[in-house]
């Protein structure tokens, strides 16, 4: 429907410039009207409202053109017939006018041809006189030009000769300049090389110095590293000795502990709160040199049990290593504190 409308509108806008165009236009118009009428007479499809709304709202072009045309159907046909009659009368009138204009044009053409012949003969005579005068003038001008040319050539040659001399002088000067520059460059190059050589030597000296210094530093560092390594080695050895002493110490601690535990008879009045501390001094033979109660449990029986236990050992198990003995077992403390009562 939409497409049809557009077609019809565009056809209607076309200007009626020729009978054929008019005819074609009319025919299309008739066909369009017929089609529009048929389409119009077809009951409108029951389209969903939403679709109708979509179709109507974005279509600004009104339809009255089509409606007018449809309503003035017969009027249009009558007007077309009248137009065709008018066009025929116009064509006959135009043909008569054309014949009359042709006769007038022929008479005017003959008068013009005669006038032109007379004017051509007068012009030929005038041209001949003018041609002779122009030839004389040309010969004179030619002589003058040749004289000027000779003078000019002569001056030109002189100028060229002078220029040549000048050019040669300049060339010589330039050559000399070049030579001088060249010598200067050479001198500068030599100076530069000398300078560079001096610089190189200086840098080399510096480098050597630096390297010597670095070598000295490296040597020092190496010596330090070695010293450190030696120190560490010594420390490790010391630690190892220490550890050995400790582990040996531990071993003998455990032995002493065991012997004392077996020798200790905590009294029945002992409680877990009771702690007696005894300071033991041993002889290098493992014999007890002295024992001192440094911290009493507050219970005489308990203190006595501890003292008795300490004194009950004839010889304490001690390490053979004298250092270990001196360090740990020459003098130590024993704490008696029952954790699990009988």
């Amino acid at each position: 429907m939409k497409g049809h409308k557009r077609d019809i509108v565009s056809t209607g806008k076309a200007p009626l410039k020729s009978p054929v165009a008019v005819s074609v236009g009319l025919h299309l118009l008739v066909f369009g009207i017929a089609l529009a009428g048929w389409s119009w007479n077809t009951p409108p499809e029951p389209e969903p409202k939403s679709i109708s709304a979509r179709l109507i709202s974005p279509e600004p072009r009104p339809t009255p053109v089509v409606e007018e045309r449809d309503q003035a159907d017969k009027e249009q046909e009558r007007k077309q017939a009248q137009a065709r009659e008018r066009e025929e009368a116009e064509r006959q009138r135009q043909a008569e006018e054309k014949a009359r204009q042709e006769a007038e044009r022929k008479a005017q053409e003959e008068a013009r041809k005669r006038e032109e012949e007379r004017r051509r003969q007068e012009a030929q005579a005038r041209e001949l006189a003018e041609k002779q005068a122009r030839e004389r003038e040309a010969a004179r001008q030619k002589a003058e030009a040749e004289a000027k040319e000779r003078e000019r050539q002569k001056a030109e040659e002189e100028r060229k000769r002078q220029e040549e001399a000048k050019r040669r002088a300049e060339e010589e000067k330039h050559r000399q300049e070049e030579q001088r520059k060249k010598e200067e460059a050479e001198r500068q190059r030599r100076e530069e090389e000398a300078r560079k050589e001096a610089e190189r030597k200086r840098l080399e000296a510096e480098r050597r110095l630096r390297e010597q210094q670095l070598e000295a530093l490296a040597d020092q560092a190496r010596q330090e590293r070695e010293a450190e390594a030696r120190r560490q080695q010594e420390a490790a050895a010391a630690r190892a000795r220490e550890a050995q002493m400790l582990s040996e110490s531990e071993k003998y601690q455990a032995l002493i502990r065991e012997r004392l535990s077996q020798a200790w008879y905590p009294p029945s009045s002992a409680t877990e709160n009771m702690t007696a501390r005894l300071q033991i001094t041993l002889l290098p033979t493992g014999e007890l040199a002295s024992v001192k109660l440094v911290s009493s449990s507050g219970n005489t029986a308990f203190d006595n049990s501890a003292l008795s236990a300490v004194r009950s050992l004839n010889r304490y198990p001690i390490p053979d290593n004298r250092d270990t003995f001196e360090r740990y077992f020459r003098q130590f403390t024993i704490e008696f504190n029952p954790q699990r009562l009988r």
Partner: protein
């Protein structure tokens, strides 16, 4: 049984010793002269070796056991001592100048007891000294005198002194035991209430009956016994003055009159009466005979004993279905159940220090004596015998006596309170039951 000793550096105990170890190492490696500390937390776990040298005697001595043997037996019974047999002694000193410590040390002895007995008319005087062998030090030196007929008392007294000097706790060898013996069958059955030394010697019958006698209980001063006698055909509570033999019927109510227990001041008795319908616990003021009911429950409540603070009571109740131990913090308070370990726990006896409560405990279809640590709630069975009954704690809390069966006969056994050593008292005629350990009297 005893774990190996631990020291601060054993690392196997707690975290703190480990840290202590590190600290020790650090200080040691820093070169400081850190003094070594060795910590002893476990003892030998065995009895203390002691030499009780037979006492020198001057003058005629009564026949029977020597004082030295009595002391030896006492110390052995305690479970804490291991006396040396006299035959193994290298010398028999009777005073300090004769004691060669090196010899005793060689024999592995810790202590040596020496003494002399002197007859002085009707009396016998003892002079005795106790030496610490390792310290070569005299730790006891005393004299004591007794009538010649009372030599055993002297022995027990010396045992008490030695025990206290070494262990720091009072000895209980001079205390008495009360117990019941049963002999004969049928019409000839005789029930006897007897009192003896703790070693079972010098026993005396205090009451004899054709009818059962039950539940002897010592008054705190050791002068009276309360007990239940069926002599009237039903259980009745008597209080019996030992010195005079005078007896008082203190509770003869309808139904049960049973389970007497003295208060620490000796003025009142706890008892179980069923006068009000079923077995409940009452306190009787002995002077006025006034009764105060302490329990009120449809279940059986019986076997009461004052707690060590003498404020609340322990007792047996089957209110939970079977007999269990309860503690009533003070009269009228809601009882708190103590035992949960088995379906039968009865007859509580608290330790004098209040650390433990001892009771009869059924396990694996037999009965043992068990104790519960009142602080931790931990329960330990302390007897290895079966059919064990009637635990009674010694006044020092170190020993416990109970009744058990040997070859079908009831006997008494003394055991250390943690179940260590056990010592059976010599069997007497017939069956022995219901021991009650008497108080320390001075």
């Amino acid at each position: 049984m005893f774990m190996k000793s631990r020291s601060r550096c054993s690392g196997s105990f707690l975290k703190t010793p480990v840290i202590a170890c590190l600290v020790l190492f650090l200080t040691a490696s820093l070169g400081a002269r850190a003094e070594l500390l060795i910590r002893i937390t476990e003892g030998a776990g065995s009895a203390i070796p002691i030499a009780v040298v037979p006492f020198a005697e001057s003058g005629s001595m009564p026949a029977g056991d020597k004082v030295g043997s009595i002391v030896q037996a006492d110390l052995t019974m305690s479970g804490e001592f291991r006396p040396l047999e006299p035959s193994k002694m290298l010398s028999l000193p009777s005073e300090r100048s004769e004691v060669y410590f090196r010899d005793w040390r060689m024999l592995g002895q810790r202590y040596v007891l020496v003494g002399q007995l002197t007859r002085n008319g009707d009396r016998i005087q003892a002079r005795y000294e106790l030496f610490d062998v390792n310290q070569e030090k005299r730790i006891l030196g005393e004299t004591a005198a007794v009538p010649a007929s009372n030599l055993r008392s002297l022995g027990h007294h010396i045992s008490d002194r030695v025990y206290e000097a070494i262990t720091g706790a009072p000895g209980v060898f001079s205390t008495k035991l009360a117990y019941i013996t049963v002999s004969g069958e049928g019409e000839q059955t005789r029930y006897r209430l007897q009192v003896s030394d703790v070693d079972g010697k010098r026993s005396k019958v205090r009451l004899e009956s054709r009818e059962p006698i039950l539940s002897p209980a010592w008054s705190p001063d050791g002068k009276k016994l309360a007990y239940v006698s069926f002599e009237t055909g039903k259980p009745v509570i008597f209080v019996h003055e030992l010195a005079t033999g005078e007896r008082q019927k203190v509770a003869d109510f309808p139904g049960l009159n049973s389970a007497p227990a003295w208060s620490a001041d000796g003025r009142s008795l706890l008892m179980t009466l069923s006068r009000d319908g079923n077995a409940e616990i009452y306190r009787m003021d002995l002077a006025s005979r006034n009764l105060t009911r302490l329990t009120d429950h449809w279940a059986i409540d019986t076997e009461a004993a004052w707690d060590h603070a003498d404020r609340g009571i322990y007792f047996t109740s089957d209110r939970s279905g079977g007999p269990q131990i309860y503690h009533m913090e003070r009269p009228g308070a809601e009882p708190r159940r103590i035992t949960f370990g088995s379906r039968y726990n009865a007859r509580p006896r608290p330790s004098p220090t209040g650390d433990y409560v001892y009771y009869v405990h059924q396990r694996d279809s037999t009965f043992h004596i068990a104790r519960t640590n009142l602080e931790t709630g931990e329960e330990t069975v302390i007897t290895r015998t079966g059919s064990d009954e009637s635990p009674s704690v010694a006044p020092n809390g170190r020993l416990l006596i109970y009744a058990t069966r040997q070859n079908g006969e009831g006997v008494l056994t003394v055991v250390s309170a943690d179940g260590g050593a056990a010592y059976s008292l010599p069997a007497s005629e017939g069956e022995v039951r219901e021991p009650a350990w008497g108080p320390v009297t001075r």
